[in-house]
């Protein structure tokens, strides 16, 4: 059993980040929340905006809940625009071509992630970071109330990580709900709430600026990180012990 005794309530209209060491069950929890695991593999119930997730028809669920997975396949032959348009599938009647609203949503999503300029290029011709921005645009194009993301910052450089933070904040300010699994703890601390996991269990859930959350974070990572307040933001810093003895690598002093 990967997850045990999970009892979580993730508030609507807020951004929750899920953190924990490798193998904590973060990605599995996110898949359970998205209803992507076989029903036989899940005991218990997930509710989405007050309704049992299993009872919501697949297409309706897809319109309410967008998913951005880790290492999403290799749509190398499709252009960035085609990939982003896949996010509109839940909105399109069967066999109907994309509507004007679909094209508008895709353009907005690609512009939001600054991927509009290479809309004509196939995914195979993009760098890792560029691909990730197109895949994020695909998830944004769904225009769902809830956005679930598994490691959305993979391959993004620091400026685009910052852009991603602003995009998430704008989504939440507009009434959306964001749940993201993140390895970068400092970036995860920019969310509203945090779920701290280890060994398939939820150890703590609380606001990102709460001292109890910081204590849980430091504890789950064996106190090898420290949460500090810097420039108005909470940051997780590695707790490096400087060795001022002769065991370190000797440098040449000039």
């Amino acid at each position: 059993m990967i997850l045990q005794g999970i009892d979580l309530q993730l508030p609507a209209g807020r951004w929750t980040s899920i953190v924990g060491p490798n193998g904590a069950g973060k990605c599995t929890l996110l898949k359970v929340l998205a209803g992507l695991l076989p029903r036989a593999a899940v005991q218990g119930e997930v509710q989405l905006l007050g309704r049992p997730l299993a009872q919501i028809p697949a297409r309706e669920r897809a319109r309410q809940l967008a998913w951005l997975g880790q290492n999403e396949g290799s749509a190398d032959d499709l252009t960035s625009y085609d990939v982003a348009m896949l996010g509109r599938l839940p909105h399109q009647p069967w066999l109907a071509p994309p509507s004007a609203a679909d094209h508008a949503a895709v353009e907005q999503a690609l512009r939001t992630t600054q991927a509009w300029d290479w809309r004509h290029r196939p995914l195979s011709q993009l760098s890792g970071g560029e691909r990730q921005r197109v895949l994020l645009a695909r998830a944004l194009a769904v225009q769902a109330q809830v956005l679930l993301m598994d490691e959305p910052l993979a391959n993004l450089d620091p400026p685009h990580q910052t852009d991603w933070l602003h995009t998430m904040r704008a989504l939440v300010d507009a009434g959306g709900t964001v749940v993201s699994v993140l390895h970068e703890v400092s970036l995860a601390l920019q969310a509203d709430d945090m779920v701290v996991m280890a060994q398939g269990r939820v150890l703590h859930q609380g606001a990102c600026d709460a001292p109890a959350t910081h204590a849980a974070l430091e504890s789950v990572f064996d106190h090898r990180i420290h949460v500090r307040h810097l420039d108005g933001m909470w940051m997780a810093l590695p707790s490096l012990q400087r060795k001022n003895n002769n065991q370190g690598i000797k440098g040449v002093e000039s």
Partner: protein
Amino acid sequence: MTSVPMDLPTGSATRRAAWRAAWLLLASAVLTVCGASVGSTGFDSVLRMHGDPVAWQIVWDIRLPRTLGAWLAGALLGLSGAVAQGLFRNPLADPYLLGSASGAALGGAVAMAMFGVSPVAAQWMARIGITGMAFLGAAGAVVLTLILARGVQHTLRLLLAGVIVGVVLGALRDLVELASPDILQAMQAFVLGSTAFVGWMACGLMAVAWGLCSVVAWMLARALDGLTLGEATAASLGLPLLPMRAGLVAAMALATGAAVAQTGLIAFVGLAAPHLVRSIVRVTHERHIVLSSLMGAVLLMAADILARWLLAPQELPVGVLTAALGGTYLLWLMHRRTAQCGAL
């Protein structure tokens, strides 16, 4: 219906795909004329066909059906290859690697042994019987491959399972041949691949199968687009993957079964056609399937004309020619990719 603004990539892709399709159809028309002209009596038969019953018979009853039969078999194999590569998210997947061609050949052999029919049979029921058994064999082989591979998630396991199923069903086909020596000659033509036995009835059957498979594959093409992003993302988009996969596997099996039943085992067309399309235009599966089908048709038609012309008045089995040309193409593709990786 909403029109697509032409400055959007979707609009330009539609234009490009339409142009490629037009070129392939034009090539098909030119090759049809060539196919009707190639033979021991050459173009003379075409010129004299309205006044000479023998020339009419040569062109109308022999050359045209086999030329159009090659087009239809190629179209079926191209479509099947495009569906297989999209469905299994693997550019190496083709109907033969997943065992469906071996299954179709076994089904054809069983039909011949049980009902005493041959590929040259003139009766509709015999033709339908061979096609039906080949379809069942192809579908059964794909299902067996999927069961052995425990789904399509693990590419290596899938390809290995396909190879195993192909070998085992090939051995069973050999046993059927041993038990019924009177089908040996027919099976030899079957295994080498040939359009020599294709008549108007076979063309009719393949045309119906092509129409059915094209409609099903085109309607389910969105599942293939969704699957390019992975299983979880495709499911998150609300796509009913299970029935869609079943429909696509059925279309792939019917296309392979229909082609193999009428022309035997013709290698590499199903693998090469989608690759060639990808190298000239990158579009969604809705258009990729149609273009791959047309490309397969043109490839096999051209190969068939070449097979009839190279050693005229003798002719090569077209399956031998496509295997030689297709193998060379794959080697070139591997060399090019190795060179590109080396350059990187």
